[in-house]
């Protein structure tokens, strides 16, 4: 079994060592540095999630990925996630097939909503239309990925009649995943449309998603498709020791989740809930390289998944803390997980 390991960021706004927030521009330049460094550290994939807020100033991650592509050779680059419902599938395909060209075939996309909703009012979409928007646009995106002229008609964008959409990819479709948070009907949709499955697990015991993984493979069979990979995306932070990782991450986690809880339906974090989530049965991968590696190996086994993407960083952490996290993840966590799973 071949396992791959990624890092995802939402462009979490950095602070300096004194706790003062850096500019959006400096945060974006830091993300580009982190992506380049991820390759040097031995990470397989670097993903950027679309967000539109002051604490996640990252609405155009594909531009940053292009900058990373120009300075790297091997690391795969993609979205994590692209909020497809409030975007145009044709434009998303064009941006990522352009990234695929620049990077020599290293582009990927993860399509979804995340738990982020700010793009809907920003671009004039109604959240109540979410389901229809995603279904139609994911269907069109699956068609675009095949290459060749596309004919499509729906309610959410202008129809396409035998339309050639450029740039063409050099070697077939690039990898495309649908991000799922807990809705089994989204798992069925990913299988029906032939996307791989990205399980976003941000709270509670990861093992409860095992049924989703089985559901995905059974649904692929039902739709006559070959098996496709499952990835797990979860937040975390790696530092030299468990104590240091928790001490760095907890106040930042507490701040940001408390801020966004009312609109995203998260519980306000407490020290008790943080301990539970960072413990062996929680969804946060916070700790020393050994602690995090053990937990990743356990989750990949339980979920039948072959890729793990650690969503690193949190608004208010420093660029240095993130670089240390990336170094430890690449140099220690990934080799240790491979060893545990071999």
């Amino acid at each position: 079994m071949t396992y791959t390991f990624g890092l995802d960021t939402f462009g979490d706004r950095n602070s300096d060592a004194g706790g003062k927030p850096l500019s959006h521009a400096q945060t974006i330049r830091n993300v580009a540095e982190e992506g380049v460094f991820a390759e040097q550290a031995g990470v397989d994939f670097f993903g950027i999630g679309e967000h539109h807020t002051g604490y996640f100033p990252m609405p155009a991650g594909d531009v940053v990925l292009a900058a990373i592509a120009a300075r790297t050779e091997r690391i795969r680059l993609g979205s994590a996630v692209t909020v497809l419902s409030s975007d145009d599938p044709v434009r998303v395909f064009q941006r990522y097939s352009t990234l695929n060209a620049i990077s020599g075939g290293r582009a990927e996309v993860i399509l979804g909503r995340g738990s982020s909703i700010e793009s809907f009012p920003l671009f004039g979409y109604d959240l109540a239309d979410y389901e229809e928007l995603f279904e139609e646009k994911a269907t069109l995106f699956a068609e675009l990925l095949k290459g060749g002229p596309v004919t499509w008609e729906g309610k959410t964008r202008a129809p396409l009649l035998n339309q050639d959409v450029v740039p063409h990819t050099e070697s077939g479709p690039f990898p495309a995943w649908i991000g799922v948070g807990g809705n089994p009907q989204s798992v069925i949709r990913a299988a029906r449309l032939g996307f791989s499955l990205a399980l976003a697990i941000i709270g509670g015991p990861p093992a409860r998603f095992a049924a989703y993984s089985q559901l995905f493979q059974r649904a692929l069979e039902k739709f006559g498709r070959p098996p496709l990979p499952v990835l797990v995306h979860s937040p975390g932070h790696v530092a030299a020791t468990d104590e240091q990782a928790k001490a760095e991450f907890w106040p930042r986690w507490q701040d940001i989740i408390t801020l966004i809880a009312p609109e995203r339906g998260f519980a306000i974090p407490t020290e008790e809930s943080f301990d539970r989530e960072t413990g062996p049965h929680g969804a946060l991968y916070v700790g020393s390289p050994e602690t995090v590696a053990q937990k990743i190996a356990t989750s990949l086994r339980a979920l039948g998944a072959t890729r793990f993407d650690l969503k690193y960083g949190m608004p208010g952490l420093t660029h240095d803390q993130l670089m240390t996290n990336i170094k430890l993840y690449g140099h220690q966590v990934i080799p240790r997980v491979r060893e545990l799973l071999s």
Binding site: Y130, N183, I188, G203, L215, G265
Partner: protein
């Protein structure tokens, strides 16, 4: 203890399967339905809600003693009230504009009161709406467990509220009865216990303090 009644869960998204799973485990016969063909959710039911029966909504409701509404609130506006006539209905839905968009029909007043007005022929109890689907299953504990948490039950019909309090108890939470659907507003988004998973004394205190702040 009385035999648990038959449950119909409407909705197979984030919330419905979690409630259905908990109810199966608690010994309730459970049917699950969407607005479409039960065949579409057969695989989901087999793997994610083993023990439940996928059915057409009308059939599931007809045979049910308790119907749980676990659909997005904007979809509720498309539900024919006749389907639920005469039924005991648990409203596990939320009006949550920040997350799901603005719905004019729900802008004014408690969402379950508005649901109850639309379902004039049904008995509506608000419950199972305020603990996130990520947590609802993970935090359930048998009666008497030291780390058991509380969950609110609000209804205008006392007998119906007793039945649903028993459901909440059996699936793993200490039920806290609130005297009316109107009092159930404390369970809504923005209320003192929404998204919180509190032990009984803290839950009761949070609800009491909120009631005091309103007077």
């Amino acid at each position: 203890m009385r035999e648990p009644g038959r449950l119909a869960v409407l909705g197979a998204g984030h919330v419905g399967p979690v409630i259905a799973r908990l109810a199966v485990r608690a010994g309730y016969p459970v049917a699950i339905a969407t607005s479409g063909d039960p065949e579409d959710i057969a695989l989901i039911t087999e793997l994610v809600i083993p023990g439940a029966q996928p059915r057409w909504a009308a059939d599931a409701v007809a045979d049910a003693d308790i119907v749980v509404l676990a659909i997005p609130l904007h979809r509720f506006l498309d539900v024919d009230p006749g389907l639920l006539h005469g039924k005991l209905v648990v409203d596990a839905m939320n009006y949550w504009p920040a997350s799901d968009g603005v719905l004019k029909a729900f802008e004014d007043g408690g969402s379950s009161e508005i649901v109850a007005r639309r379902l004039a022929g049904s008995t509506v109890v608000k419950a199972l709406n305020h603990i996130g689907y990520h947590e609802l299953e993970d935090r359930a504990r048998p009666a008497g467990a030291p780390d058991r948490r509380a969950a609110g039950v609000a209804g205008d019909d006392p007998a119906a509220a007793v039945t649903i309090a028993s459901l909440v108890d059996r699936i793993g939470y200490d039920p806290v009865r609130l005297g009316s659907l109107r009092a159930g507003r404390v369970l809504q988004p923005g209320g003192p216990v929404f998204g919180a998973v509190l032990p009984l004394p803290e839950f009761e205190r949070a609800v009491r303090e909120d009631a005091r702040s309103l007077t």
